[in-house]
């Protein structure tokens, strides 16, 4: 029978690019598999209260079986616990807050992207490999920002030159750049998603500083890179996916995505695609009406991921390789190339906090 999926994601306003990529990746997988899935995708406007109400609607009125789509951690925290309590499945294509990985983990909650700290941890690991010993850390002042610095420090072994939290949404980084200059750091680790990252990278390039930058993939994703341009060239960043990961699934995905939508897929598109692939694999094994069987089928993660090997840790978050990428230019297009592996079969730090 038809499986009903409710997708709550950001389709309007500033953060829409991410939501659209997740949705497009997700839909592509369904289309390719010809799976019998009905997707109801709706815009959460990046507001937690709207997201909660959409979840209510999808559960109560649309009677969906599975929910997915949320981009932002704060929205996920608002929506997921209530949804899974009502016996629905939630597959996260992006947000992976520590709360949902640890204390508030749930048997019906699966994260197909990463635990939030993962890419930061990998960046810390990479910093060790690169021989950095005095890092300057920079993130916006909100929970995800603090998690991203904690994740880095969890693996990074060197000293911390300074740790600076900026206002969320800040676009002006001259004061921080001055502090970096004065700090004597040998590397800068930063987490500044979206427009913040664009502004920072451009301003950093203008400042004439040449201390190496490293960060999680979020500021270097395919959509954003074109806007940063030259200023991002050569920067190392960590990601569980890149378009040049060498496996047939990924190759096919990148090609078909480009053919379908006329643009290169981003990290988020791959996550949307993988989420749908996981769902389809589980559908093949069990009916969603048999929750236990369906859950086991999901847990088996018996699908071909665009990132290669993929398995779930006990708290239903990925065990996966995380790569180091470098920003390059291919023709006119700025993109990433994998230059190394930061961590292999990496899980997450919250497994022990999770009792399910």
């Amino acid at each position: 029978e038809t499986l009903k999926v409710g997708m709550i994601t950001t389709l309007s306003g500033g953060g829409a690019a991410l939501g659209i990529d997740v949705r497009d990746g997700f839909m592509l997988a369904i289309k390719q598999a010809g799976a019998d899935i009905e997707v109801i995708a709706q815009d959460d406007q990046r507001k937690p209260d709207i997201a909660v109400q959409l979840a209510d609607k999808m559960v109560q009125s649309d009677k969906v079986d599975v929910l997915t789509g949320i981009i932002w951690s704060n929205l996920a925290i608002a929506v997921v616990p209530a949804v899974v309590q009502q016996g629905k499945f939630y597959l996260s294509p992006n947000a992976g807050p520590s709360l949902l990985a640890g204390e508030r983990c749930h048997e019906n909650y699966f994260n197909v992207a990463w635990q939030n700290d993962n890419l930061a941890e990998a960046a810390g690991g990479y910093a060790n490999d690169a021989g950095y010993s005095n890092s300057f850390l920079l993130a916006p002042n909100y929970p995800a920002g603090r998690d991203m610095l904690t994740g880095y420090k969890r693996f990074y072994k060197g000293a911390v030159a300074n740790e600076v939290y900026t206002k969320l949404g800040a676009n002006e980084y001259a004061p921080e750049i001055a502090q970096i200059r004065a700090s004597g750091a040998d590397s800068v680790y930063f987490f500044l998603p979206g427009g913040m990252g664009i502004a920072f990278l451009k301003q950093y390039a203008q400042s004439g500083l040449d201390i190496p930058l490293v960060g999680p993939a979020f500021s270097f994703d395919q959509g954003i890179l074109q806007a940063v341009g030259e200023a991002a060239m050569g920067v190392k960043n960590t990601s569980q996916w890149n378009k040049d990961i060498d496996n047939p699934t990924n190759k096919a995905f990148v090609e078909s995505f480009q053919a379908e939508y006329g643009r290169l897929p981003s990290l988020y598109a791959s996550q949307g695609f993988d989420t749908a692939s996981l769902l389809i694999s589980a559908m093949g094994k069990a009916s969603v009406s048999d929750a236990d069987a369906f859950r086991d089928a999901l847990r088996a993660a018996d699908f071909k991921s665009t990132r290669g090997d993929f398995a779930f840790a006990p708290n239903h978050h990925p065990i996966q390789d995380i790569y180091v990428r470098e920003v390059i230019k291919e023709g006119d297009v700025y993109t990433n190339k994998i230059v190394g592996v930061a961590m292999t079969d990496h899980a997450n730090a919250y497994i022990d906090d999770c009792q399910m």
Binding site: G13, P48, V52, Q60, N74, P81
Partner: protein, 326 residues
Amino acid sequence: MNREAAISLLIAAGLLAAPLLGNAFDEPFVITLATKVAILGLAGTGLNIALGYGGMVSLGHAAFFGLGGYVAGILASHALNYEPLFTAPLLVEGTTQMLIIWPVAIVVSGVAALVIGALSLRTTGVFFIMITLAFAQMVYYFAISWPAYGGEDGLSIYIRSEFPGLNTLNPLHFFAICYVLLILAIGFSFLLSQSRFGLALGGARQNAQRLATVGISPFRVKLTAFVISGMMAGLAGALYADLNRFVSPSMLSWHTSGEIMVFVILGGTRRLFGPAAGAALYIVLENTLGDVSEHWLLLLGALLVALVLFARGGVIGILAGQTRHA
């Protein structure tokens, strides 16, 4: 009965009928939406007292709305985690009883309104708009970066708070609570607007100097109205927290202030049912336009512009004509 009264009755009846129909036709989401309309209408009714009757254009009501929400969230989360709020000087436990949460929310937001109002009422006009915004933004950034109750991530309540004799988890019951409170608030606004205090408040809005020369302190009158207004917004916030079983700083953001203000203007300032009508229209548009197009915000914007241009005095204004009680 004049025309506005008839329309008001119609709106009240419609808002009551929608969830009942939703329930009958197995569309429970309609109940949620109607509840949301009632709650945001309540917040708007509160703002209408300050903005409409008192002429105090506050762009900071999200602060009171959010504080009410956080009161509910914090009390409930302490109760659910069995952690007392304070141990010294006396033991204060959390609670999930609406009948306790509401008064606390009302008092907390009232006190906040008293402080913010007292400081802000030195200014008038757009300066007042901006200083109330400033205070709300302070609370907002504080909530975002203060980790104890979740910061930007917010705070989940998981279980809706309880009301004696009702099952609040039943959407209809919860709607009934919100609806009754909305009607009570509107009734109170009506009495207030017709009372001697309402007369003085209108005087303060139109000409504070005139009021002062007849020996009534415009400051005291306005501050009183501002506090009442903030209290209603706080109560609405507490209900909103229970509706979503979740509070977050977004309740405190200037968008929320702006949205509540839009409900009031859209419905018609100084119209008793204006805020509820505005909230209903906005929420219905928000929930139906999305199916029309991915670019539904554009449609919404265009519709709102058209409404401002052609519907003087808001929705109630076009329906009921220009006259209104001053």
